[in-house]
Amino acid sequence: MSTPTDAEAITYIRAINLALDDALAADDSVIVFGEDVGIPNGPFGASKGLRAAYGDRVFDTPISESAMIGAALGSSMAGLRPVVEVMYADFLLVAMDQIVNQVANTRYVSRGRLTAPMVIRTQQGSTPGSCAQHSQSLEALFAHIPGLRVAVPSTPQDAYSVLRGAISSDDPVMVFESRRLYPSKGHVRRDADARIGVADVVRQGSAVTVVTWGTSRPLCEEAVDSLALQGYECELIDLRWISPWDTETVLASAARTGRLVVVHEAVRNAGFGAEVVSTVAESLGGQLQACRRVGTLASPIPSSPVLSAQLLPSVDTITRAILDTIGEK
């Protein structure tokens, strides 16, 4: 396959494709599978060309997510490094036992004698017209489970680096990609830092700390950039990983600003934003002068974009939350 030069901007989905390609080339023990992943090149094209290039190391499976996750688990226990694709995060739910009761316990219960160096790739979030069963952002459910690593990349570079880092990791990693951002473009350096759990400080500022990840990052950039024009300098941090997450960077920033806004597309209530706010509140006590969470309102996502727009985070709701924290003393 032709590979992009570092100077060329590529799409998020192409960055995933490239990461899989590079991982397959680098390590014989990597296998890639899922529904329509092999011969049809992947439902979203993530595995385009890989079957042709790597033969049966890239293959299709029946619509059986529990068996798929188990296949990844067992093969990782026996020396392979499987990357299994689950088409939509919503479908993780049919395989939840395998992820939580099986994969996550492997290393701990065996005292490190068994390991599960596997990756579950999926994509999530609402796109206009997608129904309640194809729109959820579910990362919080997995961040609560000890033994799992969870990443939520939002740029082509991070999509590439996170996936390479995930495949090299000796722990099971769940990568939540963003379907909405698949067509977005950016430069990808294949030798960029792929360390797990390191946040990206997207903008520096002293007025307020804004923490985000995944699909919400572009909205936050827009909000923060337009507030900058109004003289409010916000610090914008993209966590990239929520398990583990970069508490150090966030705490240091919040200690400086005393104000915190956390933004994610997942339902606000009991979302991972609560963990970020709580961690900061526990650490800063009364020094945390104001905080807000922005997330999807507590509702399933309706298909109609007119309705879903009322529920999902927007540049507007993010901007208001930021101004709210600045207004408060």
Binding site: E35, D36, I39, P40, P43, D60, T61, P62, I63, S64, S66, D90, F91, V94, T127, P128, G129, S130, C131, A132, Q133, H134, L297, A298, S299, P300, P302, S303, S304, P305, V306, L307, S308, A309, Q310, L311
Partner: protein, 310 residues
């Protein structure tokens, strides 16, 4: 007999023309999102709903437009729902892939493969206990036979003695992969694993499907167990509206097209009657789209309603 054949043709044609227009709507932006069309499979919902009682609850998949319409959901409201309007179905909440209309005993599409089976078991449990005499039916694809929830529901229905009908629409594909690559044995063979009856039928003939469903309904009642109908058909379009179908073997669509149930249904009719019916449905569908387009947009302030009872 002639009347039934005209009805079959008309009802199948209505589904076909509505879906063809919906495909255009997706392409030109009148429908936001995607749609999973049942083009080529219309004989199954039309035939099955002919045999079911009108109050028999039906559960379908994301490929459920034909089922909604065959259950009698009014086209204007149906189209409005797919278009994301404030329809009387779900007011744009369901959309193409997850709509329902309990008024027409259409208990809903389902966008999780196999996800509707367990709820159908439950519907049947309630109707049996309440002695309503109704028999729920659920449609799933051939690929869904490999989901755990389908397996669990068929076994549980069998051992607890719960009558319902599972219609497996074997259309040759699961998304972009040929079904035979995914499933160790055909659905009808699997029925034996649950000690339930299975009926195989030509899914491109509405009358054959109706007859099979009638038998299935009787068997469900007499055996007090689930009954399976495996309807053999062909998906004549993409998996969804945006599917370029590059994976299709050359010539397949042409060959399968010759089995188009609509062509066959039309060939059974007197040409004059057929043409008159055709023109009538064309006009009816055009009118339905025109009226659906007039339906108001959903009210923004309603977005948070009905998450809970109060």
């Amino acid at each position: 007999m002639m009347a039934a054949e005209v009805d079959d043709y008309r009802d199948m044609l209505r589904i076909r023309l509505i879906e063809e227009e919906l495909l255009k709507c997706v392409q030109d932006g009148r429908v936001i999102g995607s749609a999973h069309l049942c083009i080529g499979q219309e004989a199954i919902p039309v035939g099955a709903c002919r045999a079911l009682k009108s109050d028999d609850p039906v559960v379908a998949t994301y490929r459920g437009h034909g089922w909604a319409l065959a259950k009698g959901v009014p086209p204007v409201q149906f189209i409005g729902e797919v278009m994301g309007r404030d329809s009387t179905l779900n007011g744009g909440r369901g959309g193409s892939a997850y709509l329902s209309s309990p008024d027409h005993a259409f208990m809903g599409e389902n966008s999780i493969v196999g996800g509707g089976l367990p709820m159908t078991l439950g519907l049947a449990m309630a109707h049996q206990r309440r002695a309503t005499g109704l028999i729920p039916a659920v449609s799933i694809g051939d690929g869904a036979m490999n989901q755990g929830n389908v397996h669990e529901s068929l076994n549980m229905g069998s051992v607890l003695g719960i009558p319902f009908i599972v219609i497996v629409e074997n259309n040759g594909y699961a998304e972009m992969t040929p079904s035979t690559d995914l499933t160790a044995t055909p659905a009808a063979v699997r029925a034996a694993a649950y000690a339930i009856e299975a009926i195989e039928v030509d899914g491109n003939s509405a009358s054959a499907v109706a007859e099979a469903t009638r038998r299935a309904r009787e068997l469900a009642i007499s055996t007090q167990r689930p009954v399976m109908v495996e309807a053999h058909t062909r998906r004549l379009g993409g998996h969804y509206s945006g599917d370029a179908q590059a994976y299709r073997p050359k010539g397949e669509l042409e060959e399968w097209g010759r089995l188009d149930p609509l062509t066959r249904a039309r060939s059974l009719l007197d040409p004059t009657v057929a043409e008159a019916t055709y023109q009538q449905v064309v006009a009816e569908v055009a009118d339905a789209f025109a009226r659906a387009a007039q339906l108001p947009a959903p009210l923004e302030e309603e977005a948070m309603k009905h998450v809970y009872a109060n």
